[in-house]
């Protein structure tokens, strides 16, 4: 190694990737950056990334950028996220679990003890919290990257932005914008397909509508999501109340805009049986 490249290596931002309660899919998105992975590795020091076998300093160092996957679901997680925050100059959550509590936050609507008895033969060995919560419920988060899973190009943009000291160019508008930028015809208006796109955060590049399917809301609510408004449209296109409730409660069920759906207030029509 030449002296110049050694110097460069020492200057590289140190990046750590952390896992909490999650499926590892968002971490895998980083490994799926096949064409760009060498550039990533040149640009940053992957100082701790267990999914990639990079044990490095065992997660005991200090990091310029921490990418955090997963939600907080155990007492151990509560302590560990504080430790991660202390070690990190910038902390970015990756994915719906870390940003909104994930699909596992469905348990927040019921009694977790019930699941323990059903799932585990020896539930007394399980130590878990009542709720699955987002990282931002526990520590300050510098940026939340949405998606279940996250989008590869958005992840690269976040890494490029944070390691170059600029804000990431990741808009908070709806998936409808992405459909129009691709030249897609609206599946709801032209085909009557129910779609969460109008209230869903952009980022996937309008993947499902491009293949004539309605948006499932993987990226969670957009910046000014009108959840009650879109429910009216889902109803108009044939979904019943139960189906609408299921559609709202998926990967981002515990996001503040969705967790209270359906509102407990009387129905808009005011009709009572």
């Amino acid at each position: 190694m030449t002296p110049a490249s050694t110097e460069l290596a020492q200057e590289r931002p140190r990046v750590a990737v952390w896992k909490f309660s999650s499926c590892d899919g968002c971490q895998l998105t980083l490994l799926d950056c096949e064409d760009e992975l060498l550039t990533v590795a040149e640009r940053v020091e992957l100082a701790y990334f267990l999914e990639a076998g990079a044990v490095g300093d065992g997660g005991k160092g200090l990091y310029d950028l921490s990418l955090v996957e997963g939600s907080i679901t155990t007492p151990g997680d509560l302590d560990r996220i504080q430790d991660v925050r202390r070690r990190s100059t910038r902390l970015v959550t990756i994915g719906a679990c870390a940003s909104a509590g994930g699909i596992q936050a469905l348990r927040n609507f019921t009694e977790v003890e019930q699941f323990l008895g059903i799932v585990y033969a020896q539930p007394q060995f399980i130590s878990t919290l009542e709720e699955s919560t987002a990282i931002s419920d526990h520590v300050e988060v510098d940026f939340e990257l949405r998606g279940c899973p996250i989008d590869k190009n958005q992840l690269l943009e976040v890494i490029a932005a944070f390691t170059n000291g600029r804000p990431p160019a990741i808009p908070g508008h709806s998936v409808c914008v992405e459909c129009k930028l691709r030249g897609n015809v609206c599946v709801t208006v032209a085909q009557g397909v129910p779609c969460l796109g109008p209230v869903t955060h952009a980022g996937c590049g309008a993947l499902c509508p491009t293949y004539h399917r309605g948006c499932y809301g993987c990226f969670g609510p957009s910046e000014t999501a009108n959840v009650a408004g879109v429910a009216v449209e889902l109803r108009r296109h044939g979904m019943d109340e139960h189906e609408i409730e299921l559609a709202m409660h998926t990967f981002n069920t515990w996001s503040p805009e969705l967790r209270d759906y359906p509102p407990s207030a009387p129905t808009p029509t005011g009709e009572q049986p």
């Binding site: 932005a161 808009p171 015809v185 009108n226």
Partner: protein, 407 residues
């Protein structure tokens, strides 16, 4: 392109028809058969144009490259209502039997994403190279309606008519060729007659409106005929027409076209009272209707991104991972995003109510202050393509009336 004042004549290859009579508008009129239409599209390609026109894709009629006349939406019509669009089979084999789809010439003249500058880091600073916006070929549009011609004129005046012409739109619109088509079967969402832009392709244009088609077709279909009355309205149009097989138009042809126009006007049921509308809308910032529409509005941006006159864009500077290269890209934006009105401290239009107020009053009121004309051409796209089915005419009409008591 049309140059006003030019003497436009078409040399007819065959004997002059004694019955022919020219249209009172001064342009010369001929009749083109179905073969002639196919030959027109082929001739435009031959002359070096990239021909863009209507075709069926994704359950709608979209604008795309039209290699031959076979790609036209033959026998297709559309059914439109607020929040509703469906293709429908027509009983005839009309080529232009639909109204307008979700797209417009805007996407060709000012595409969704355009790279403007590429910036490269150098040893002692950076190099910036402007990206040449000149397209490989000038564009020939087929089948544009009166409302779309009006919208193109608005874009020309806004984007390239001022002191700082937009290089992208200037380059892409240069030397374009336009084949307009009279609307024969308007949709339930159309209100071009209120806005003075249709249903014929250019006939209603005011004296200041120089935007028009090079050729203006009216599709004539009955048991005995299927052809097109074609007004030749520019020198470029006349030059192309001379290479095509056609005959001079006669009185019967003009009468048939008048009948198409008459039927189309009868079809248009939607009416926007534009008299004093600009002032009436600006006078009611506290009208409860704004709150009601904001409850329905999803701030999805669809109305703005299908609108043929909306022109807002944002600038994205996206750098590569190595920090060596940045591309400055212009991307369509909408007043229904928070970033659109973001200033120091936050978004000016931070609520859906505020966003909708900004959009509707800009289209119908402040556009007049800014550009001396309406920002709405009455095409109805915002209404059809709103997933919540919010109807511009209905909202503007309700807002310009006093609120109901005990609402």
């Amino acid at each position: 392109m049309l140059s006003t004042g030019d003497d436009i004549t078409v040399n007819h290859p065959e004997e002059h028809d004694s019955e022919s009579d020219d249209d009172p508008s001064g342009s010369s009129a001929v009749v083109l058969g179905l073969d002639g239409l196919a030959a027109l599209i082929a001739a435009l390609w031959d002359r070096g144009y990239r021909v863009v026109g209507p075709t069926v894709r994704d359950s709608a009629i979209v604008l795309d490259e039209l290699l031959t006349a076979d790609s036209l939406p033959i026998g297709w019509g559309d059914e439109q209502a607020p929040g509703h669009y469906r293709l429908r089979r027509r009983e005839d084999q009309a080529r232009f039997g639909y109204v307008v789809g979700p797209q417009s010439p805007r996407q060709e003249l000012s595409p969704q994403k355009v790279a403007l500058v590429k910036i490269r880091r150098t040893a002692d600073g950076f190099d910036a190279d402007a990206v040449d916006p000149t397209p490989a070929a000038p564009i020939a549009f087929i089948g544009l309606r009166g409302c779309e011609l009006a919208a193109m004129g608005i874009h020309d005046r806004v984007m390239i008519g001022g002191a700082h012409p937009d290089p992208v739109q200037s380059a892409r619109g240069a030397d374009r060729f336009v084949v307009g088509v009279d609307c024969g079967d308007p949709a339930a969402t159309c209100f071009c007659t209120s806005m003075g832009t249709g249903p014929t392709a250019g006939a209603e244009m005011g004296p200041d409106n120089t935007e028009t088609a090079d050729l203006r077709l009216c599709e004539l279909i009955d048991d005995d005929r299927h052809d097109f009355l074609c007004h030749v309205t520019s020198k470029a149009g006349a030059e192309v027409m001379e290479t095509l097989e056609h005959r001079p138009a006669n009185t019967a042809d003009h009468l048939a076209a008048q009948e198409v126009r008459h039927r189309a006007v009868q079809c248009i049921e939607k009416h926007l009272d534009t008299d004093g509308l600009a002032d009436r809308l600006m006078a009611v910032p506290d009208h409860p209707r704004w709150d009601e529409v904001a409850e329905r509005c999803l701030s999805c941006t669809n109305c703005t991104l299908v609108c043929p006159t909306c022109f807002c864009s944002t600038i994205d500077d996206v750098g590569d991972l190595a920090g060596e290269m940045t591309t400055r890209t212009r991307v369509w934006d909408s007043c229904f995003t928070l970033d659109h009105s973001y200033l120091h401290g936050g978004a000016v239009h931070a609520t859906t109510r505020s966003q909708y107020h900004q959009w509707l009053t800009h289209k119908l009121s402040t556009w007049w202050d800014q550009f001396g004309e309406s920002g709405c051409v009455g095409c109805g796209r915002c209404t059809t393509w709103c997933p919540a089915g919010i109807d511009l005419v209905e909202e503007a009409t309700a807002l310009s009336r006093a609120p109901e008591i005990n609402r």
